[in-house]
Amino acid sequence: MKRWVFHFLLSLMILLLIGCGGGIGSQEIPVAKSIETHEPAVNVPTGIRVETMGYGLNVEEAEKDAILRAIQQAVGFAITGRTIVANYTLLDKSTFTKTRGYVKSYSILEQGVDPSGLVWVKIEAYVEESVGDDVEALIRMMNKPRVGVVIVERGGGISTTAVTAISGELNKKGFYIVSPTLDEIKGYLKELMMLSPRTLKRAGEALKVDLLVLGSVETEDLGDILGYGLNSSRARMELKAIWTGSANVVYADNLENSAADLSQDVARSKAVKEVAKLGARKLADKILEDWLEMAAGGIPFTLKLQGIDYELYKAISEGLKHLSFVKGVFPRSFNDEGKTGELDMEIVAPIDWIMERLAEQLGFTYRVKELMLTSGTIEVKLEGVSS
């Protein structure tokens, strides 16, 4: 009998333990579903994974709304606002939000129409704060802008230390770098930091570059200001980056840096190198940013046509307007004697690709004589033009 009682009590205690244990466990706060981070895997995009809903009058608008919410949620956004009340009267109430992010990829999970007639979509997006490596890869794939780097010293010569430092940084980002010689740029040296749009365009064509990085550097010897027997130098640099085609200034800054070394010459060189690197890093980011915007909105391109008559000039400019990767066409000039014409365009695809489609459409043949990112010369064969 005693053994039976003992077993019964033991079972009871076990039940008691299990019962209470379960109760306490269920009290734990469920872990809030946080912004899900995605583990990198094969064929799966990296970045922060978010699922959001978007609404609009059509699917495109709803998609855009959902993407914006995804970036706001995962990357974050700046919000600022104010409310002014005077004598119990609301004078001003405003809020402003701004977000910026990079959508690596997204897909629509679901879509439909709500009872109000609004289109809704649910998307899964992989977003990141900065464009980072992807843009560098993109630049490598696309027609790369050719960048000319000209940094002059106060005395008038080219600062090879600064040019090397800046070229190195830009090279890492996938740009083609051209370092013109003193002879090549001597025509522009006088007004290097204040080049007019026309001169810039001429310089761009002469140096065969799409973007010019211009700068002037000067150094100042400070002596042993630290008191450790080291010689110090300070370098000041004025740096600018300008698209030669549009004369758009991408970046402009005044930078300063100091360095110390046993030798005054080395200290001077170190200071120049450091200030150039500092500028190059800022510059590279700005160029990338601008490049992306340009790539999306249309890169300015000047198309020079040879061997054409006015009818064909008109037909080409009209035909280009209807091609999907041409954002804008602006006829610039036509010369009947020389049978040449120029068109300013905004393009989002390589010009040879665009010309191929146009030639197919209008039935002409052409020969590319010179091709750069922002300009090109194309000879058109009149014989093949269809009426």
Partner: protein
């Protein structure tokens, strides 16, 4: 002997009953909260649907939705991050002659989710709910957040 066994069983039963049920109802700090509201905050934003006859109701609805979401964001930032207020009043001869208040906020935030939004056709307004998870906010700020969780309405 039977009495002893009975007493033991009764005692065990009582311990089980009180022990388990007590842990279900008590919360640290004595604040009456649910398990859910301890983990996140919900912020409500309201906006009128500015609809004029002859115009698209859907467009008015979309605009009101964005305003309501912005209002909810604003409330969230003001509650969780804070805001500055400056102002004052002028009283002359026991008469209030001037009273002014300027409220402003400026923050960078992350992890705010638009939980839902819906229209109230009777009141012709849109209500939006923005949810901020405590864990997301603490991760973002890098410090523990002391604001008591719950639902916030303007």
């Amino acid at each position: 002997m039977k009495k002893v066994i009975f007493s033991l069983m009764l005692l065990a039963g009582l311990v089980w009953f009180f022990g388990c049920s007590a842990s279900r109802s008590s919360m640290p700090g004595g604040i009456v909260t649910t398990v859910e509201t301890r983990a996140y905050w919900d912020f409500y934003g309201y906006a009128p649907i500015m609809y004029k006859q002859g115009e698209s109701y859907q467009l008015a609805l979309l605009k009101a939705k964005d305003v309501a979401i912005n209002e909810a964001y604003t409330l969230a930032v003001k509650t969780l991050v804070g805001f500055t207020i400056e102002g004052g009043s002028t009283v002359e001869d026991y008469m209030l002659t001037k009273k002014i208040s300027r409220e402003s906020f400026n923050a960078f935030v992350r992890g705010m989710r638009v939980l839902e939004w819906y229209e109230d056709r009777e009141k012709l307004m849109v209500i939006a709910v923005v949810r901020v998870y405590k864990r997301d906010l603490e991760n973002f700020l890098g410090v523990p957040v002391v604001t008591p969780p719950g639902s916030f309405k303007p």
